[in-house]
């Protein structure tokens, strides 16, 4: 059967720019990313190919196109043609080819469908090249060129309009009211003053409302003055994943400005990995100076509350294994915090073969979970994760990122795997001691 004629091209386009304008926009934006850090990374690569061995997409398909450093090829070419110290010579002698529109379209799949920016490749690179960070920077150029998977672009448009891809801010009070009634837990919204601004991931306002209620239950138990607020409520930051810097700044500012407005000292992030990457490590960039608020992840909050004796939990006393969300653990530094919470819950932790810093991604990070084109790739990665989970023999399977949960739940549904993927937050809420 000839599939070539019927196969859908693995790229989408937004806007009506000419091909030339798209290439120019991408190149200009790529060049704007080339500071010293990106440059020393791109200058250091010896093409050893070890990064392939670290990538879940390469490991599960054997397709050399998924070699992480290869995903940066147009970005690399832009550097050597336009920004490297040898750029004039490179251009004059035509030593490095300028990326074409065809290249950018082809690389859309490699930058968006088959990279979760998990950074496992960063750890294996003998030159210490932070490939995940460079992929994120390359996405900035792809976004400006209007070459983003349409599903992500759609979410981007919604978030630009509503402040969230899930719902407009003005609907937040009604949604929270409904969640509150459904789960029997008060959820303060739009208080004029509070100490903690609590934020959500889009899924917590739809299919994962239990997580929202769990957060509320714990927060209420601590006695903290907290609120959610329609001025800034969605921390997932789709701009961070898509490469939309304007949106990333807008969403970041909405959180920080709202916190400042209500006098909050802390912004509490949901169980969402990329929220942590965008807010904890990048918010200050957009604010232009040190933040006036502390930004913490839900896992840190649980860890601190348990350590301080502000909440107590009943031990569950079963075996569990834990999926380390990449942005929270490998790129976020919360490996020990999650394990302390699991220990407090009385779990006997049976680690996955690959865990902690070198744990494999769920396969859905970096927006891949929302990109329906990447479903076959996600399924392959899920199979690898499923085998590792089964090999532990643990009774429970826990994680601390809602996006990972959605990815893993979707994989489980397709693979007809009956192990529930449990939220660390919900486990704490369900086992609060009186």
């Amino acid at each position: 059967m000839n599939t070539t004629a019927t196969a859908k091209p693995a790229f989408d386009r937004q806007g009506d720019q000419s091909d030339e304008a798209r290439v120019d926009a991408a190149m200009r934006t790529f060049v704007s990313e080339f500071g010293i850090t990106a440059a020393v990374h791109l200058e250091s690569c010896v093409k050893c190919g070890l990064c392939a061995e670290a990538c879940h997409f390469y490991r599960t398909t054997g397709d050399p196109r998924y070699t992480p450093i290869h995903k940066l090829e147009p970005f690399r070419r832009a550097y050597f043609r336009e920004a490297s110290p040898l750029a004039p010579l490179v251009r004059k002698l035509g030593l490095v080819r300028k990326p074409t529109i065809g290249d950018l379209e082809q690389w859309q799949e490699l930058l968006y469908d088959s990279c979760t920016m998990c950074g496992r490749c960063t750890l294996v690179c003998p030159m210490g090249i932070d490939i995940a960070e460079l992929v994120k920077e390359a996405r900035h150029g792809m976004f400006v060129a209007g070459l983003v998977p349409e599903r992500l672009a759609l979410m981007d448009r919604a978030a630009r309009q509503w402040g969230s891809p899930a719902t407009p801010g003005e609907d937040l009070p009604d949604i929270l009211d409904e969640v509150s009634k459904q789960h029997g837990v008060p959820i303060p919204c739009d208080l004029a003053s509070a100490d903690i601004l609590v934020t959500a991931a889009p899924a917590e306002l739809s299919e994962h409302t239990r997580a929202m209620a769990a957060a509320a239950k714990i927060l209420n138990r601590t006695g903290e003055r907290w609120t959610m607020h329609q001025g800034g409520f969605d921390a997932s930051n789709i701009g961070f994943n898509n490469g939309d810097l304007e949106l990333q700044e807008k969403l970041t500012r909405s959180l920080v400005d709202t916190a400042v407005k209500i006098g909050a000292k802390t912004v509490l992030l949901p169980e969402c990995g990329h929220a942590y990457g965008a807010a904890r490590w990048e918010a200050a960039r957009w604010y232009g100076r040190e933040l006036p608020v502390r930004i913490i992840h839900m896992t840190e909050f649980l860890d601190e509350m348990i350590a301080a004796g502000r909440i107590r939990v009943e031990p569950i006393g079963e075996s569990a294994t834990f999926h380390d969300p990449c942005q929270i653990v490998r790129r976020g530094g919360l490996e020990a915090a999650a394990r302390r919470v699991l220990a407090a819950l009385g779990f006997t932790l049976v680690e996955l073969e690959d865990h902690g810093l070198t744990g494999f991604c769920c396969g859905g990070g970096g927006g891949v979970v929302s990109n329906q084109r990447a479903a076959p790739l996600r399924a392959r990665v899920f199979e690898m994760k499923r085998q590792q989970v089964d090999a532990t023999g643990a009774k429970r399977f826990v994680t601390s990122c809602g996006q990972c949960r959605i990815t893993l739940e979707t994989g489980a549904r397709i693979a007809k795997w009956d192990k529930p993927v449990e939220s660390l937050l919900e486990l704490v809420a369900d086992n609060l001691a009186d």
């Binding site: 500071g35 990374h41 003998p126 210490g128 490998r330």
Partner: protein, 227 residues
């Protein structure tokens, strides 16, 4: 002017000039690019930037056990030709004599037997590196002309040097005049080719890797992650 006089005189001066100016040009050109400051608060207990950079440089010398065994062969092979080349260049008596003539610096040589082993290991590992690049779909996909030019230009001085190592180094150095002028000139010219190519290709990783590893170490340590 004989070919050897050319190789020892103007060609060497030109190659050294290109090497020094080129390396400085590329190094300074990159290091003066702007650095975006990380304004986010560091994780409590994060080490200093310098300590983080140092740790990352040391840590990256050998892959984590989680990446074994698939990464071990490539890593070992890389060490084999890096160490081999260093031993040959800095340990072989005629090379030390050459360096003394150019710079006035010298140090004790390693025994010839060590040199023969180092040369054999270097040649085998370079052949293996080339074979892997040629046969592995991953390496074929990511390789560029730079990789092959660099591989060839690195190999040439080793091969042309082996052609000259047909007698003990003590006997070579004891002679008043060079016996094999042509082959020695070719050997020197291949070294000069390497020096000229150095600033333009991936050999520059010899300078950049410290900064690359250090930058990642600093970024991750800031977040409380020991890469």
């Amino acid at each position: 002017m004989t070919l050897l006089e050319f190789a020892r005189g103007p060609a060497l001066a030109f190659a050294l000039a290109v090497f020094v100016i080129g390396v400085l040009w590329r190094l300074v050109g990159v290091l003066r690019l702007p650095r975006r400051p990380d304004l986010s608060p560091a994780r409590e207990g994060a080490p200093s930037a310098l300590a983080a950079a140092w740790h990352a440089n040391v840590r990256a010398m050998w892959p984590r056990s989680a990446f074994a065994p698939s990464t071990h062969f490539i890593t070992l092979n890389g060490y084999a030709f890096h160490v081999g080349l260093a031993l040959i260049f800095f340990g072989y008596a005629p090379h030390i004599a050459f360096i003394r003539r150019v710079t006035g610096l010298s140090w004790p040589a390693l025994p010839d037997a060590v040199m023969y082993v180092a040369a054999a290991v270097t040649i085998v590992s370079l052949v293996l590196a080339g074979a892997i690049r040629l046969t592995s779909p991953v390496r074929r996909t990511i390789s560029t002309a730079d990789d092959w030019i660099t591989w060839t230009i690195t190999f040439l001085p080793v091969l042309t040097g082996m052609a000259l190592s047909i007698e003990p180094s003590a006997r070579i150095l004891a002679r008043e005049r060079v016996l094999y002028e042509g082959p020695l000139a070719v050997h020197l010219l291949t070294l000069e080719l390497l020096l000229v190519w150095f600033p333009f290709g991936k050999l520059m990783h010899a300078f950049f890797f410290v900064f690359s590893r250090g930058a990642t170490g600093m970024r991750f340590s800031h977040r409380g992650v020991r890469v």
